[in-house]
Amino acid sequence: MDRRQFSKTLAAAGAASALSPFGILRAQSQRLKVGVILPRSGVQGFIGQSCQKGADLAPGVIREMLGVDIELMNADWESNVDTARTRAERLIQEGAHVLVGPFDSGAATAIAQVAEQRGVPFVINIAAAPPITEQGYKFVFRNFQTAGDIVRNGLALIGDLFRATNTVPRTAVFMHVNDTFGQAMARGIGAILPTQTQLPFKIVETISYDPAAKDLTVEIGKAKATNADFLLLVCRLNDAILLRREMVKQRWYPMGVISPGSPGMYEEQFFKALGKHSEHCISNVPWYNPNAELTKVVEKAFLKQNPKDKLVFHGLNAGFTFEAILIAADSYKRARSTEPKTLAEAIRQTNITSKMMLGGPIKFNAKGQVEGIGSACLQNLNLVPTVVLPQAAATAKPVFPMPRA
């Protein structure tokens, strides 16, 4: 806290205590300051800006919903972990009561340490590396699936998909990007797939590829040579586009392309770049429930702020960023205080049932991790990612095997 803020707080405290002997009013007359820390420039700039859209609409929606005023303090960590750390310190010094971000496991660890040292709650919107919530932190909370959860849900949905379409693929070739996320997913699949005996297929070959590669001819050539029934793919956006194009060029038509839980194939750019060739690709990802009440409210706010855009293209990024802020605001409302310890305690007691993303209520376990976040089977239909499973949230029926374009 710098001097200016210190005197401001002092004045506020003075005024409040004059009004109320117990100082309860003080908290509610203040606003909750949420430090939103995202990579809006640098290598991850694209995703950071996508997440930011979910943050920008939060104050309006939350005021309507909870009657709580929140103020966003935006920071860009520039896809650089050193910056993530100093920006987090800066936000706290500027008076942020809670931090939200950062879409990256490396940055999340750096920020988590700052939050822990300063005793300021930190709600992670997106970051899948399991160790983050295994460190015994008291102020770090994650409302996102760990890599293991993503894989487990993703594989279960693959089983549901085969049952729903009466198909029995026997073989898969598994391709994954060799970065932090891809590696965690590959480990998850290696550990979990053998236990899923109800799944009819086995992996005939695993191909890991360089996240920086700009030419994936060989990778697809290799995959095609396996003659597998379908492609199991853990990708990012740009490589997903390259891979899909290369499949068309090399005339490889497997039964389908299924992601057990990764970004890429449901993103707007994928449709823009590939047109009809984006059709029927499937991603099993943590997603919002299109039929939920809150989703409709958020969607309306989203369209108001981004008239030319669609929420569905920012579903995961904007959705979880919004929910992270919602968790903070809801806890603030219950705690009636911005005092960090009280706020952290309130976050721990969170039980939000009226939510946007799929799955059970938002409740944190002792490690600060939400369990039971759901995934959806998202298929590209008519150039829009459409929920086809689970049935309760579905707005269309799945198509598998994919027809030849």
Partner: protein, 289 residues
């Protein structure tokens, strides 16, 4: 492993390599004459890629036709860059030149981010998804055309240096800077001209590259590094070397990806680079400095 598949992928490696070679050509020409390593090379190509995409989306101009206007614009840009920024640096130590061009690169990448945003841009042309059948082989159409352009552009550049008076004068400046000055050549003009030519090469490479990848602002540093690897392997300053280096890298990455693991394929490029540097530091086709 099926021999047809191996042949297919090796061929694809050759084609990709030729396009890489074209990109590296500009870097090599500039170093050969001006003796400055352009650390903003990949960033300049990214700008050319955006130019090609903008021409395509606004005017519907095919990237093959965009070559002419983009290359011309880049010639002017390159000339201005050398005349205005880099000429005062040619007598300065390498780290100073490095610093200058790194600053230029930072500005370029982020200016692109501010102007175009972080999303990928691409050109959608149906023929880019087609393949040419050559017996059992499948040839990527866009890549094939791009490789042809790479060969044509290199041949034109080669002819320019061999047969035109300006080309000869530039070679004189490269061989003997002081001598050229004594004879009364305007060395700074020729340096700027060369940088312009190198930039025009990059522009052509950029127009071809949009056929193969979608462009995003952070693409630049990746291609800068790739261009370095290629020109060192082929020989800094050698034009034929740049193409050869490109093909070697293209093919070795394809084979490494095929027989070892794809995620480590660029490790082999760097391994090749280290070997070449140690055994033949001037590069495969370079002259001893």
């Amino acid at each position: 492993m099926d021999p047809v598949n191996v042949a297919n992928l090796a061929l694809a490696g050759v084609l990709t390599g030729l396009v890489y070679g074209l990109m590296a050509l500009g870097l090599s020409v500039i170093f050969g004459v001006v003796r400055v390593v352009n650390f903003a090379h990949g960033e300049m190509m990214t700008i050319a890629m955006y130019a090609a995409v903008v021409l395509f989306t606004t005017l519907g101009l095919d990237p093959f036709l965009a070559i002419l206007p983009v290359a011309l614009a880049f010639f002017v840009l390159g000339y201005a860059m050398q005349a205005g920024l880099i000429n005062p640096f040619i007598t300065r130590p390498e780290h100073s030149q490095f610093m200058l061009l790194v600053a230029v690169a930072i500005i370029m990448v982020n200016a692109l981010l501010v102007i175009f945003g972080p999303g990928a841009r691409s050109v959608q042309l149906d023929y880019l998804l087609e393949s040419i059948e050559l017996g059992p082989l499948l040839l990527d159409r866009g890549k094939f055309y791009a490789a042809l352009v790479a060969c044509a552009a290199s041949a034109a550049l080669f002819a320019f240096f061999r047969y035109t008076p300006t080309g000869r004068a530039i070679r004189a400046c490269a061989d003997n800077w002081l001598g050229a000055k004594v004879v009364g050549l305007n060395v700074k003009h020729y340096y700027a001209f060369t940088f312009g030519l190198g930039s025009a090469c990059v522009a052509i490479a950029g127009c071809m590259m949009v056929l193969l990848v979608d462009v995003t602002p952070p693409l630049g540093p990746y291609y800068t590094l790739l261009a370095f690897v290629i020109v060192i392997v082929g020989g800094l300053g050698s034009m034929a070397g740049a193409l050869l280096g490109g093909v070697l890298i293209g093919v070795s990455e394809a084979l490494a990806g095929l027989f070892i693991t794809p995620s480590a394929k660029s490790m082999f490029s760097f391994g090749l680079l280290i070997l070449v540097l140690l055994l033949r530091p001037q590069g495969l086709l370079g002259r001893r400095p």
